[in-house]
Each structure stands twice: as structure tokens, then as C-alpha cells.
Amino acid sequence: MKTSVFFAAMTAAGLSAGAAAAGTLDDVKARGTLNCGVTTGLVGFAAPNANGEWEGFDVAVCRAVAAAVLSDPTAIEFVPTTGKTRFTALASGEIDMLARNTTWTFTRDVDLKFEFTGVNYYDGQGFMVPKALGVSSAKELDGATVCIQTGTTTELNLADFFRKNNMDYEPVPIETNAESQQQYLAGACDVYTTDRSGLAATRASFENPEEHAILPETISKEPLGPLVRHGDHEWGDVVRWTLNALIAAEELGVTSANIEELAKGTNRPEVNRLLGTEGTLGEMLGLDKDWAKRAIMVGGNYGELFAKNIGESTPIGLARGLNAQWTDGGLLYAPPFR
């Protein structure tokens, strides 16, 4: 099995060199589908629904890009990736972009040669414990058995946190979120740790979510965002500005309800430039003038996507918090469309 991985890596490296030369944008257009890497299933972020269609907050980014580039939000081949396989899948060209709650870190950006195209969720690592344990702070977790998804930044943060606080723990490395959920519920580990959004999403899928508490400590910064291969800046720009379009649309008050009307032309120049009735922003990206309009129309602007997939009215119930617009005291700040 190891041999086949090795040869696959070599052939994939060979293929991707060709792909990089041609330009991912042209490839996607020629292929007619977007290959988008997502998680193997995290409710609210990316999971297939009852009809087998992928949906979620990360999936929405893929759909917006597909709509902008291919005019068809369903022209997507979703590739489920684990924490371990995601970077190889992207580097080898198997996927065009990765939207899989992946933390933007220095080494991933610089050493692994990827390009993070923005942040679609500002997160931090937290801990979930059964309320029956009577733990109210992560500082009380000395000696605990901790379930953790292997191959993620959480693994490193966890080691740092326990070392810094001079505490012992027993890591139980697990491959996917579903398995850790099973282990945690069976009591094979006392604590489950991952990004707080992931904890909320996982807890929402429990039978009795109210029996589990998310501890107040946030032990790391986890800016999660979509990423593409380093070096293909045209494609990187498309993904970056599609995400920015979603964020800017919320700031500018463009919603899926009023977008048709606004697209006829308004007296606000930035809205006009965003929706293509003024200027040539779309052409600069190598797309047409309606690109952003199509991207926003798929599921609405950033705020609508947030509310629909992971917001307070959903079982996951995440507050906007850091992910509010900068005008509301959050960190979302799309550069100007001009």
C-alpha cells in the first residue's frame, strides 16, 4: 500500500506540473466542473444532506466559486478529505481548491506552498466535556484522556497548552470527526478537543446535547479559510475575491432577496462595481461581469450563509462573535471593490 501511495505521489506530482502550467482557471472552465475538497462530514460546515447533496458553510464557498466561474453552483465534484489527505490532494492537483475548515498557518502558507485566499471563519480551539464530570475550566483537566483529530493544528495546540500549564494528559488520536464522536460518547475519552465551531457542530448532532459543556477557554487562534495551490495567482484571485464578494455583499446590504433589483443599477458605485453594472472588475479576473452576482445569488451573502448553516437559529447555534462585519465590531473586512 505504501508503494502505491509513493507512485501515486510521483505520478500526481507529474500531472500537477502540467496543470499548473495551464492555469487552474482555464482547467476548471475546460472541465466544466470544480473539484472542491471538503471534510468527510461536519454538520453545518460540510456534510451531505438527506438527498446526498453537500451543504454547509464551507460548501457554500465552493458553490459560490463554481457559480462565479462556471455559472452553475452544482457543477462541483466534492472530494471528501481527512486532516491527513487534504494537503496532498490539493498539492497533487486532485482538487482545485480546499474549503475544509483549514487553519491558516505560516508553515502551511510558506513551507507547504499553499495560498490562503482569506478567512471565512475566525475560530479558536476549545474543549468539550460531559457535564457529569463537573469540570468548569480547562485548567482542571490534569490527567484527562483527550480525544483529538490527528493531523490538525489542534494536536500541536493541545500539547502546548498542557505543557504550558504543567499538566498531564493522554492523547487518543482519531482519524475523523465521526469516530471521535463515537469514542467521546462511549466515555473512552473524557474530553474532546477541536475548533469551537467544530465542537458546537458535533454537539448539535448528539442525542442529548444539553449534557455536554464547551469549556470557556479558547487556547488558540484558528483562522479558517479556503486555500489553493501556491503560484497560480489568477486562480487564487478568483477564489479570494469570490469570498470577498460574499463578505462585501453583506456589508453593502446586498442580499439574495434584493440582488435582482440592485443588479439593474443603483446610485451606489461600489454596489454597481460589485454587481458588474459599472466597471470591468469581472473581466480583470478572467470572468464575465455578472460573476459576483451569480456567486451571491447561490445562497446569499456571507451573513445569510452564516445564519442558514451555522447561525443561532440552527442546531449548531454559533453566534457571529469575531465573525461579524468590522462595522459591527467583528473581524470581517473585505478590501474595497474598485
Partner: protein, 404 residues
């Protein structure tokens, strides 16, 4: 008079490489070898070239950097500040631990099942056939997951041991079976314990010496010494006497519920147990078939001849059949050992941190050095496989029919 003249010595011509059957095969082998080398170097060159195009290179510098992650089962000292290299070594040791445990138990299980499969007792025979067929025909990954799930779901959590009227209690107050694994007492080596241990090792050697002497006496003079109770006495008595004379230097540390988990004692993790058992029963089924084949390959006449000498069935098996069958059994069993060792790379399915989990898992992920780590993994599995077959081949040579 006729003279026989040798045919004129033909000088070597280039066309002989193709036309002369003496050289032709060399020519083609040489061409095939060249093509293979060209192909492999093309792949290698292609790899380096494409990596360079992506701005990457082959570098093993990450091995010296701190790993940053923790490992639960660490046979040697290790923490998150240790290097990636040390994390790999921890993984290697964990692989060797599970492979060793697995090989030993698979052999015991396999030989027992293989012999019992030929038992005259219908029930025993059929039970063993059911074992072999059930375990041989279901993928080992499934067995690993089944055993692990059963352990997680059926065993009590450590919290069940808490309180005045706990739901679960420790067996003999010493062993705790939990869904995180089994906690057993660990020995504490006091002063003088070395003497006891050395004495015990000497006793083991003594037992072998006694049995050898008894066998020799039997062959030379026909006098049969009792085997059972003297062996036991030699094995146990000296150590026990020394243990009490020296004032019980070895004591046991019992596992105790501390905080979230049991503390003290030895923690045999659920992941190790699941992996070990699954590999042992799976490979054991294959070894059982090898043993059965080996026994059946021994001519029926051997059994009948031994029986006509008045040997009892068990002695026929132990003294006549098995020693001959071993020669046939060992070579396929070597490859089962290799299979078991390589199958242990499925460890990550239950979170057992073998070398595929540390070097090929977390290290690969955190450093992104996929090609480097996979090359190292391949090299490691190659080396350990060669080592196992090397040792087993020595044993095979010792056991094989001595031509006189």
C-alpha cells in the same frame, strides 16, 4: 587413421550476442535491466523536477526539529519537545511491540488450531474449521475495528469504578478492565530483586538442563525419570525461597483511580489490545492452515509406524509428526509473520501510534514532507521484513532435514 580435430575456435563477433544461444539470454537480460534503470531514473528525475517546479525539494532537515505533538504509548522517554526523529523511533518501537506480541500469539493460536483441526473429535475439528474460515475470510481491518468497538462499548468507563457503590469493580482488586484499556499492577523492584530475577533465569536454564539430562538418560540407559514435577520444582522453588529470604524485595503497585483515570500500574491501551488480538487471531487462522498442510504432508505411514511401536497419540504428534511437519510449515509461516508486521500499519484505525501513525501520520502532516516520510516508511518496513525473514531463515536452516 582418423584424427579428431577440434572445430576451429571461433572468435567472438558482435552478431553472436543475438544469434548465439550462449549469449542471447544475457543480451536480453542486459537490455531489460537497462530499460528498467532508465524507467526508474526517469520516474526519479520526473519527481525531483516536478518538486522543483513547485518550489519544493527533498530534505530531511525536519527530522531534527521538535515534533510538537504528544504520543500516548511511549516505550522510551518522549515529549512534545522531542524531535521528529525521536517520534519516529517511538513509532518504530510501538510497531515492533505489536508485531512481536502478534507473532507470538498468532503462532500459539495457529499451531493449536492447526493441530486440533485434525483432531478425531468431530466437534473440536468443526469448531476449529469455523474459526479458521471466519477469521481468514474477513479483512483484518474489520476485525481490528470490531474488537476495538466491543471494548469501547462493552467495558465500563473509569468513572464507573468511582463512588461507594460503583457499577464496576477491579478483578481481584488488582486488574481494572476499562474501555480505555486494561490496568494491571506493575512490579516495584526493591533492593535484592536482581538476585531473585537472576535466580529465576538460572532456574529456567536449570529446567532445560534437567530435561536434557533426563532425555539423554532415557536414550542411553532406558531409565525414565519423572519430567513434570521436578521441572516445576526447579523452576519455582529457588526463586520463591530467595524471595522470602531477601524479605520480599519485589512488590506490586496496584492501579488506583486518580482523577479522570487510573494511575499507577501498567496501562495496556485498548488500541494495543484491539490491534494485537485482531492481528493474532487473523494471522493465527492462516498459520493454522499452514500447520494443517504441514501435518497432512507427512505420510500416514509415519503415524502408523509410531503407533505400532506403542507410542501414545500425543507422543506421536509431538515426537514424530510435528518435528517433520515443521520443515514444511516454517517457510510459509515466515511470510505470515511478514504479513502481520505489515498489517500492523492499520494501527491508525484505532489510534495506536505505530510508525505509520507518528512518522507517516502526524509528522507527515505537520511538516508536509510526504515523499520523504513515505520513503523512510518504505525503508523501515523493508528492513524489518528482511530482518524477520533473516532470523526465521536461520531457524529454518537449523530445522531442515540434515542430509547425511
Amino acid at each position: 587413421m582418423t584424427t579428431l580435430t577440434d572445430p576451429p575456435e571461433e572468435s567472438f563477433r558482435l552478431s553472436m550476442l543475438i544469434n548465439d544461444t550462449r549469449y542471447r539470454s544475457y543480451t536480453f537480460q542486459f537490455i531489460a535491466l537497462m530499460l528498467l534503470i532508465v524507467f526508474m531514473s526517469y520516474l526519479g528525475w520526473n519527481l525531483v523536477q516536478n518538486l522543483a517546479e513547485q518550489g519544493q525539494n527533498i530534505s530531511y532537515r525536519f527530522l531534527g526539529e521538535p515534533s510538537g505533538y504528544d504520543i500516548n504509548q511511549t516505550p522510551i522517554e518522549y515529549d512534545s519537545q522531542s524531535t521528529h526523529l525521536r517520534a519516529s523511533i517511538v513509532g518504530v518501537l510501538n510497531t515492533i511491540i505489536v508485531a512481536f506480541l502478534g507473532c507470538v500469539s498468532a503462532t500459539i493460536l495457529g499451531v493449536t488450531a492447526g493441530v486440533l483441526r485434525l483432531s478425531p473429535n468431530w466437534l473440536v475439528r468443526k469448531l476449529m474449521a469455523a474459526y479458521v474460515e471466519a477469521f481468514r475470510n474477513v479483512p483484518v481491518l474489520i476485525w481490528i475495528l470490531i474488537i476495538f468497538s466491543i471494548m469501547t462499548a462493552a467495558m465500563p468507563a473509569p468513572s464507573a469504578f468511582r463512588g461507594d457503590a460503583p457499577d464496576a469493580s477491579m478483578v481481584f482488586g488488582a486488574v481494572a478492565f476499562t474501555n480505555r484499556g486494561v490496568y494491571v499492577p506493575s512490579p516495584i523492584w526493591g533492593s535484592g530483586s536482581l538476585i531473585v530475577v537472576l535466580l529465576f533465569i538460572a532456574s529456567v536454564i536449570g529446567v532445560f538442563a534437567y530435561r536434557r539430562y533426563a532425555t539423554k538418560l532415557l536414550y542411553d540407559t532406558g531409565k525414565l525419570l519423572p519430567m513434570g514435577w521436578p521441572s516445576l520444582a526447579i523452576l519455582v522453588l529457588p526463586s520463591v525461597i530467595a524471595y522470602y529470604i531477601l524479605g520480599q524485595p519485589i512488590s506490586l503497585e496496584y492501579p488506583e483511580l486518580k482523577g479522570f483515570n487510573f494511575g499507577g500500574g501498567i496501562h495496556i491501551r485498548g488500541s494495543l489490545i484491539a490491534l494485537w488480538f485482531a492481528l493474532a487471531i487473523y494471522t493465527g487462522a492462516f498459520i493454522a492452515e499452514n500447520v494443517r498442510a504441514g501435518i497432512q504432508a507427512i505420510s500416514r505411514g509415519q503415524t502408523e509406524a509410531a503407533a505400532s511401536l506403542g507410542l501414545r497419540p500425543r507422543r506421536i504428534m509431538n515426537l514424530v509428526i510435528l518435528p517433520q511437519a515443521l520443515r514444511i510449515v516454517i517457510p510459509p509461516v515466515i511470510s505470515q509473520y511478514l504479513n502481520l508486521t505489515k498489517n500492523s500499519s492499520l494501527a491508525i484505525a484505532v489510534g495506536y501510534m505505530d510508525v505509520t501513525g507518528t512518522l507517516g501520520g502526524i509528522t507527515l502532516n505537520q511538516t508536509g514532507r510526504a515523499i520523504e516520510t513515505v520513503l523512510m516508511l518504505m525503508l523501515f518496513y523493508l528492513l524489518i521484513s528482511l530482518a524477520i525473514s533473516g532470523v526465521m531463515n536461520l531457524y529454518n536452516n537449523a530445522m531442515k532435514l540434515q542430509e547425511r
